[in-house]
Symmetry: C3
Subunit: 287 residues, 3 copies
């Protein structure tokens, strides 16, 4: 297991310390009927900031954001440099991080549930280091949880690293474009070909630099912010198994975390079943 032992223990003890400073829970044991109606209860209104991943833009969240809004939540979907309308692909991880932290500060947001998808997980880690006091919980949706000092490509198997390097070198602006067959099999494996093609038609080359930057995450591993990992079980964007993958490989680095699972692949389920995913993001994000 790649658990960072120190942080795990810290988390555990932090949880203990939070617990003993909280008031006593009112001991009203619900009836069986109450238990069974639990999932129909009104949702606690939350403030979500949703951070998309690579080869995507803020429209990745369209369906999910609409569903969360319908349930009474406040939802922000900031675009970040090098993505969406921004054609300047010359960006660093730090520049992207700062833009998201600035967004949160400029809107004066507090008690934010910060959700990152894929590459967005590494941004959740770095944004949390800048504006920890504004964050209520961190949610990783099939997202990278990098070790302190690690660069993202180190989470890819050697052959994929080499292919990335070749794709990077074949670009004229230090970007990496995913070939369609690879995208179709590993990012949208549950989609029909028609849907896969439609989604791919919006994919643009991804700035390469942020994948190759070692991140200083020491502060992240000392923060006392609750964390959740939402794992979609057909996600094959990263190989799963010994030493690789979303869960439990990267999720276990969070130490104490809330685990939520659902069916889904890396990209298309957000498009085909936004209501179901929004419900799971709520379950990951609530207190």
């Amino acid at each position: 297991m790649n658990t960072n032992s120190l942080s795990y223990e810290q988390e555990w003890l932090n949880a203990y310390n939070r617990a003993i400073s909280e008031e006593q829970w009112i001991p009203i044991y619900p009836s069986s009927a109450d238990f069974q109606q639990d999932h129909r209860e009104r949702q606690e209104p939350l403030t979500f900031v949703l951070i998309h991943g690579s080869w995507a833009d803020a429209s990745f969240w369209d369906g999910i954001a609409a569903e969360l809004s319908k349930k009474g939540h406040t939802v922000y979907v900031p675009e970040y440099p090098g993505h969406g309308a921004d054609t300047n692909k010359n960006v660093t991880h730090a520049v992207i991080t700062k833009s998201i932290a600035d967004f949160i500060v400029s809107k004066n947001l507090h008690n934010v549930v910060l959700v990152g998808h894929s590459f967005g997980g590494s941004l959740v880690q770095t944004v949390a280091q800048i504006v920890p006091d504004r964050l209520k919980r961190l949610v990783f949706l099939d997202a990278f949880v990098l070790k302190d000092g690690e660069m993202l490509v180190e989470e890819l198997p050697p052959a994929a690293q080499e292919a990335f390097q070749q794709l990077r070198q074949s670009s004229n602006n230090d970007t990496i474009m995913l070939p369609f067959p690879l995208f179709r099999e590993t990012f949208v494996n549950l989609a029909s070909l028609k849907l896969a093609q439609s989604i791919y038609s919006h994919v643009t080359p991804e700035p390469a630099k942020p994948f190759y930057e070692k991140l200083d995450l020491k502060k992240f591993y000392s923060l006392n912010i609750p964390k959740s990992y939402l794992y979609l079980t057909e996600d094959n964007a990263l190989p799963q198994g010994d030493g690789y993958g979303w869960h439990p490989h990267m999720s276990s680095r969070l130490g104490v975390f809330r685990l939520i699972k659902d069916h889904g692949d890396h990209i298309s389920t957000a498009k085909t079943e936004p209501a179901r995913l929004a419900q799971k993001i709520y379950e990951a994000g609530r207190d």
Copy 2:
């Protein structure tokens, strides 16, 4: 893999030997319609003894026991020392084991399907050593399957072991109390906060000693009793992954076993969806 090779082989050969001593199966191949109606067929009536886990009492099984009874099964839910109404927390694994074995003998039960949840798995192992002839099948529900000579805390990662040690030392009666935030994230991760609080309001400190006792399980690994493992896929009470977790890490120690899976966390699903879990326990327990 942590398979105990000797027992695995023994199981395999035992299975073979059981097979050749059984009568020939009546070769009536069902029609497609029969196949599809299979799950609606009347249940074979079974005798269940349900053993709860730590930070719980016999009421853990309330909903599930009621559902099993409705289907015509006979269900026993013995409380054991140091739990429920028993305020004396000074108990050992052997004392608890004996109380359950005595219960089975005093009620003169036979053909028992013995079901253990969590810590209760280690009790299924030790009870089976005492009254093997009264047991028809052992069912482990996200339950510990310890190695011969192992103590339960050895299945926790080092940081959790250290936190347990601190929690133990901070008690005045050699117990361990789970702080709420830890319980909420890892034992009832699928529950609403309200339900999580309600369940937690009934949690009492757990006797520590049985976690730190090395268990002699040599006889368990020589027993020829059929076994099932029921794994709830969102259970995050133990970290999952290399060298840790319920399935396949501990389940594989059973050698030949029947695998059943369903959605659920460690505690709350038993409260919110007792009928579904009762059905899975039946599928794990039937012949």
Copy 3:
């Protein structure tokens, strides 16, 4: 991870090369309504050749083949030597492979989606080496993906290998018969006893030789045919975990592949829920 690095990289680069030779995708982004209707769209008609596994015959596919045909697909279910009506159990892996390749050629099939279940996975690998130009995609359904030079029994844990050896030696015609209790727990774990017995009543001893032959699979690992792995999550015919099992252990050897998952065990789900499995096989097999 047991990924064959060379093939993985080759797959990745092949995928890249296929991509850049394809025409541009028409960039019509579907509306939300389109996304959600995706799964109801008409199926692309495919030609399936379905290869069963050990202790089974072509009737394994009956329900699934009927469901695929109903949807407009062309389905072939060839029986192979040593199985079904063929009582001569003295067969080799090469003889079986040739019979399937010959079948495909004799029917003059092209654009075949070749589906292998269990042992049939190793046949998909060897058949693909003989008639690669006739195959559109390879689908592995809880199927063996062997390494170059490996024999099938090497994928079993040591105790199971020893038991297989004993079962083999106890036969009078170099076959292996699975004892019922083992079959019931690990091949049809989700079935009722009645259904388990009915299925078992059709099981005949399996030719042993093909399990003990080292396969030359160098060509397989150089082929540029798309691949899918369909994993049924309750399949416990092989132990799952470190160094063993269907997914991700053997699936990861495919390099870039499409992952599809569903509930099911090794044998009985094909009987009880053929429509659901047929849908998943279509999702694994489509472009």
